[in-house]
Assembly symmetry: C2
């Protein structure tokens, strides 16, 4: 901490294929570590950066939100330029804005949106190989939609959390889950999920289970029983990290109107 | 040539950042070379592949079209699988279809569509750095649209061709040029151009000139004079290759209805 500090929030994009996830680890390159190293190089003292949550190895972010405390005199526009020069080429600090000291990137978050990209073609996704999961066999996206709808609402997602997940409660509210066709590469099947929060691997286990439905290995009607089982083994395999994108983190803008400035 | 051959056409996607362009060169990795090497490894004899045209180093393709002559007995489905295994990870043979012997990927082509991606943000495009041109200063896309419209129609594009361009005629018909906002990464400005054909560097010089307009260095009204000058120096600098994508090649489907099978 500096003597005279102010808290700032930043929106960060990163190519997850270059990192062992968001969170600092010993002997591994992480996004948090990359930003902290850049801040230390600029400010000549260590600064701790707090993200809205971890992302797994390989997972990308369009808008991860983080906060830290900086010297009051620091020009934020110049800081962004310096951070982007030092954190390149796989991390971009898109925007930085001053926020009240009560703001906390993780504790203040009220929701998150993830998007999973599936390339469902017989040939490989050469133009974005580390941005989507290549599923060769044809998927029945209508069946996947039917299955997805049954996950909506406030539910016990124990079947959709990693065995090592340490969250106290397995209850989460999935407020939106939509399948759409994107154009990068053309024909990408995108699953967008918005929830109050995500358990460890939840977005990837939901995706893996919907793909099992799309391949005909599971019936859409099986979803309620999978939820009710509350056992990880009841759901299908975890989809790979490299297809997943953290799209946005939601905060109460009545409490923190400053965060509007972080939007694209 | 084989004793008993048939001609096939293939749709090919590639990540141009891995190649020195499409066309075979001595001591350089090219897309054509990659496909020919894979064909030779599978068929145990050399096969010449003819593309619809060259693409420059760094330029990507969603659907380049090529043709070659193959043994009649060759199973095309298996061949595709083999080619995709051998040409990975930067080249995908999306589809292969038998065509009449009169078909020629370059001579039969009646039009092409290119799309140029510009990332117009103060921070870098970390999720697709080799798929778009990062232009930091804000672009006036309305001025760019006005300028673009003036290039439409059958014109002498001498000001928009590379000095070393060997095409006999500089006359081309630009039938469509549209600016749109794409989402990969979010906010990408895309310039899509459809023409009877493109001179060497034409799509990139058109883009560079529209960006000069967007930056306020050129007025949209200057375009007719730039065309009329018929000198390369009259237009702006060539945009980098890595933002450009060959989107599709057009053929007369009344003459070659088989090509419908190559569509996505």
């Amino acid at each position: 901490m500096f003597d005279h500090t102010r808290r700032v929030a930043m929106a960060v994009a990163y190519d997850g294929s270059c990192f062992h996830g968001w969170q600092m680890q010993h002997n591994a390159t992480t996004v948090q570590g990359k930003i902290e190293d850049a801040l230390e190089a600029i400010l000549h003292r260590p600064v701790r950066v707090h993200g809205s949550g971890r992302t797994d190895a390989g997972v990308h972010a369009l808008n991860q939100i983080a906060h830290c405390d900086l010297p009051k005199a620091q020009d934020l526009h110049k800081l962004r330029g310096g951070l982007n020069a030092l954190a390149a080429p796989a991390v971009a600090v898109k925007k930085i804005v001053e926020v009240p000291a009560a703001f906390h990137a993780r504790h203040s978050a009220v929701g998150k949106t993830y998007r999973y990209h599936i390339y469902n073609r017989a040939y490989p996704p050469v133009l974005a190989p580390r941005r989507c999961w290549w599923v060769k066999a044809p998927l029945d996206d209508e069946a996947m939609r039917l299955a997805a709808e049954q996950l909506l609402g406030t539910q016990d997602f124990s079947s959709f959390r990693a065995a090592e997940c340490t969250a106290k409660s397995p209850i989460r509210t999935l407020s939106r889950i939509e399948l759409a066709i994107g154009n990068w590469p053309d024909g990408t099947l995108m699953i967008e999920m918005e929830a109050s929060g995500f358990l460890q691997h939840m977005a990837r286990i939901v995706t893996g289970t919907l793909v099992a439905v799309g391949l005909g290995r599971l019936a859409p009607e099986a979803l309620p029983a999978i939820l009710a089982a509350r056992r990880r083994e009841a759901a299908a395999a975890t989809a790979p990290g490299h297809g997943l994108h953290l799209v946005r983190v939601a905060y109460d803008l009545d409490i923190y109107p400053q965060l509007r400035a972080l939007k694209d």
